[in-house]
């Protein structure tokens, strides 16, 4: 592909995405279906903008799946994974084994040889991680019990691909195994025990590097304060894992997932997430377009009934197995239906496995092409099926759905408060909230501090809070409050503008350094502004008054009165500030006023508030009466 055509291709893909995804969304079909439609339309069957190279692009775009698994891993704490272990092994394992056995059995009954039947069973038992997770996320169903179960099953399937790839050469016989060796990896020429050792070694490298190498590396990168370097590091990490995994013949998606899980507890988690996210999104989009484009309509037109029958039959069979499992694992009816609807499709790993069977001669060319079409159609149907679930089935069960969501909240606890800036100001606020049982997600730009705080067990993440994506990653959509305690006024204003624009539901509590900052924040309409030194200086003033013999209670009240007066003055000034000249003159007036306040009787008056406690007027009145009486 020369450069010109590469640019042209990029243009076609991007344009198709931009045209069809918003259209699909508008029609309530979801982004995944939008990408698939775009692929079908620009593909060889309709407009023909892209032809055979669609398959190459699909292989390239499969990397989006790798990135997605990395992101899934990074959003997943190892503790959660451990809690899901029974559903991953039990639910996932049973799903793959039962579905594969059922499909293989039927294939054998209709006259396929044993090895082909087994290959078909394995290929078709898998579901599409990319489409299902994307759709579940899009609809906000990830947290439901069906979402969690589907996730567990998908995770197991991703793992199951590895032994499947190992079994296929055996099914094909020795001659075919040689043909398959184009996929040469480091371990191929080693004896069995050494292969195991190599695989374990690769996994160990990922875990150890994630634990002990990534953090110092990130710290060094963060210190350079060159943002794109961070993105480059994040990409390098994912690509590196993929290369390592390919080298030892493991699934790179699985490796990326493992890498993500290792980094899930890292303070750079949000930064990594927001760096990888756009790449993942684009590559996945590309992948879906490629799937759409690879659907061979000519083939379908030749045998429409056979292909549609296969699609419906396989999906129904998988759906029944899933419903059965959901029942065994005690999902409520509506959740069980969602679970079955979501996973009844055939996944993208089928394409990988199919290319393998084609090469090994396990299946004929025609059969491979037909199964490819079946897989692609079933993937394309998934968003539609989910749509049916959302519009038709879910409304019947709205009640229990709410219950399920509440359960999910406990698993993925989201912090109601985000603190931007965890310096001497923000840390105090954060500690105070923490002491009162309110946990905050902390964002800070000082990598050394982030590191130190992380060691203290505080959830703190490296990143610039004025970035939209980072705020999203920190949970700004679900949070109630954003506390902005950053050091630099410019940055503070930027975060305020960002938050007001994209997260208008967030309560903003903003630290201001001085009166100038306060005015700017007032101009932006910020209601809760905290000038950083006011309280401290007044507290010192209170102590000074007390040490000079003043009563404690009076001194405290005096400070509070002074504070209120000062805030009022500032608000008055802010209103006048638009006219600079007036501001200056008015500032002068205020200084005059302050002088008046400070001098003599004005001070006496406001310090004497609380007349009710010992009214001089009453005393005068009573004494007057006394004089009258006499």
């Amino acid at each position: 592909m020369d450069q010109h055509s590469l640019l042209f291709q990029s243009m076609v893909y991007l344009a198709a995405a931009i045209v069809f995804v918003p259209l699909a969304k508008k029609m309530g079909l979801g982004a995944v279906l939008g990408y698939l439609i775009a692929g079908i339309i620009i593909g060889p069957s309709l407009l023909g903008f892209i032809g055979r190279e669609g398959e190459d692009i699909m292989h390239f775009a499969e990397f989006g799946v790798v990135m997605m698994l990395f992101l899934i891993g990074i959003e997943l704490e190892p503790a959660l994974l451990w809690r899901l272990r029974s559903s991953i092994l039990g639910l996932g394992g049973l799903q793959v084994i039962l579905s594969a056995a059922a499909i293989a059995g039927i294939a054998y009954l209709v006259g396929q040889p044993v090895n082909t039947s087994l290959a078909l069973g394995m290929i078709l038992s898998l579901s599409s991680t990319a489409i299902v997770l994307q759709t579940l996320n899009e609809k906000g169903w990830m947290g439901t019990s069906a979402g969690q179960s589907a996730f567990s099953v998908l995770l197991f399937q991703d793992i199951a691909v590895i032994p499947m790839l190992a079994i296929f050469p055996l099914l094909a016989g020795n001659a075919a195994a040689d043909a398959a060796s184009h996929n040469a990896s480091l371990r191929d020429n080693l004896p069995g025990w050494a292969q195991t050792l190599v695989v374990l070694g690769a996994v160990a490298i990922i875990i150890i590097a994630g634990r002990y190498l990534v953090r110092p590396l990130m710290r060094i990168i963060a210190r350079t304060r060159v943002r794109e370097l961070f993105t480059a590091t994040a990409l390098l990490m994912v690509v590196g894992i993929a290369v390592l995994m390919n080298l030892v013949g493991l699934s790179s998606a699985l490796g990326a997932f493992l890498g993500g899980v290792v980094l899930a507890n890292s303070e750079y988690r949000h930064e990594l997430e927001s760096d990888i996210e756009p790449f993942k999104g684009l590559l996945l989009g590309l992948f879906f377009i490629a799937v759409g484009a690879s659907i061979d309509f000519n083939l379908i037109m030749k045998q429409p009934w056979l292909i549609m029958g296969l699609v419906v039959g396989i999906m129904a069979l998988k759906g029944i197995v899933l419903l059965l499992l959901g029942k065994i694992f005690k999902l409520s009816t509506d959740q069980n239906l969602l679970f079955a609807f979501a996973l009844a499709d055939i996944g993208e790993f089928a394409f990988v496995l199919l290319s393998f069977t084609g090469q090994t001669g396990l299946m004929s060319k025609e059969m491979t092409a037909m199964i490819t079409a079946v897989v692609a159609i079933s993937m394309a149907l998934t968003p539609l099926i989910m749509l049916v679930y959302e519009k038709v089935i879910q409304p019947y069960y709205t009640r229990s759905e709410i219950k399920a969501e509440r359960e999910a909240d406990e698993i993925n606890e989201k912090n109601p408060v985000i603190i931007a800036g965890f310096g001497r100001f923000g840390s105090m606020t954060g500690r105070f909230l923490r002491a009162n049982g309110i946990h905050a997600t902390v964002l800070d730009l000082d990598s050394d501090r982030v590191d130190a705080l992380h060691n203290l067990g505080i959830k703190v993440y490296y990143g610039d809070a004025s970035r939209y994506d980072l705020l999203v990653a920190a949970g700004a959509k679900d949070a109630k409050m954003l506390i902005i305690a950053t050091d630099h006024a410019e940055q503070t204003l930027e975060i305020v503008r960002m938050a007001q624009r994209y997260f208008p539901h967030l309560q903003l509590l903003v630290r201001a350094e001085n009166n100038e900052d306060t005015f700017e924040l007032m101009d932006l309409g910020v209601l809760h502004i905290y000038r950083e030194t006011v309280d401290t200086s007044l507290r010192l003033g209170v102590d000074a008054l007390r040490m000079l013999g003043g009563r404690a209670y009076r001194s405290e009240r005096a400070a509070r009165t002074f504070f209120r007066q000062d805030e009022r003055t500032l608000k008055g000034l802010s209103a006048l500030r638009d006219d600079k000249k007036q501001y200056i003159s008015s500032m002068k007036e205020r200084i005059d006023e302050m002088e008046k306040l400070i001098s003599s009787d004005r001070v006496k008056t406001w310090l004497d508030e609380g007349q009710g406690w010992d009214p001089e007027s009453l005393r005068d009145e009573i004494r007057g009466e006394k004089i009258d009486e006499e």
Binding site: G550, R551, A552, Y553, R554, S555, E556, D608, G610, W613, D614, L618, R619, I622, R623, K626
Partner: protein, 201 residues
């Protein structure tokens, strides 16, 4: 020797003529503990443990305060609400204060005759102090007669000094425990103890 505690409450002592004079005397009586509530808790955050410990260490407890709106300044209410805990001061297991004496030392703006049933305020000070009395009773304490300084707005310095000296005498008598404490709850005014015959036990 009885141990006497004075819990003092005045939000604007700097403006009070009478109490500042009284304090000059009250603060310096050996064996009488002076506890300045507003000075101790300017934010009204009463330290319950500290206050309970003080109460446990004394036999006779006074609340000294101006008679604001027929009652006391805000911190006294806060103090009562927080310190007299259930299970400690009252209730089945609340016996910490059992047998102690409790009373008020108050300054009122109105003259003595205005606190008569037919006077300006229509009730006696004792009637107004009913919540304190019942509080003491609920906490297994004896309520003593209040020590009242009437007509503070009309008093001049010599009057106040006289009152202060008399209060000092009363507190010293109570501290020295030279008479039978049993008639205390029956008294009308705490100054009356000065007339009681001294009893050495």
């Amino acid at each position: 020797m009885a141990r006497v505690l004075i819990n003092f409450a005045h939000p604007a002592l700097e403006k009070s003529r009478v109490h500042s004079q009284l304090l000059r005397v009250v603060k310096n009586i050996p064996g009488v503990t002076f506890n300045d509530l507003y000075e101790q808790y300017p934010d009204l955050d009463v330290d319950v443990a500290r206050e309970q410990k003080l109460l446990e260490q004394h036999d006779i407890i006074f609340m000294q305060h101006p008679f604001y709106w027929y009652s006391a300044p805000a911190i006294v209410k806060q103090w009562l609400d927080l310190v007299l805990e259930h299970g400690w001061a009252y209730g089945h297991t609340g016996k910490a204060l059992q047998g102690k004496y409790f009373g008020n030392i108050i300054t009122a703006g109105g003259a003595a005759h205005s606190y008569e049933p037919d006077g300006h305020h229509g009730h006696t000070v004792h009637e107004f102090l009913l919540p304190f009395m019942q509080t003491a009773k609920l906490c297994n304490m004896h309520y003593t007669a209040p020590y009242v300084i009437y007509g503070v707005h009309r008093q001049d310095t010599s009057d106040i000094q006289e009152d202060a000296a008399r209060l000092k005498q009363v507190l010293e008598r109570l501290r020295d425990d030279k008479f039978d404490l049993t008639p205390l709850p029956g008294l009308k005014d705490l100054t009356q103890i000065l007339q009681l015959p001294a009893q050495t036990r």
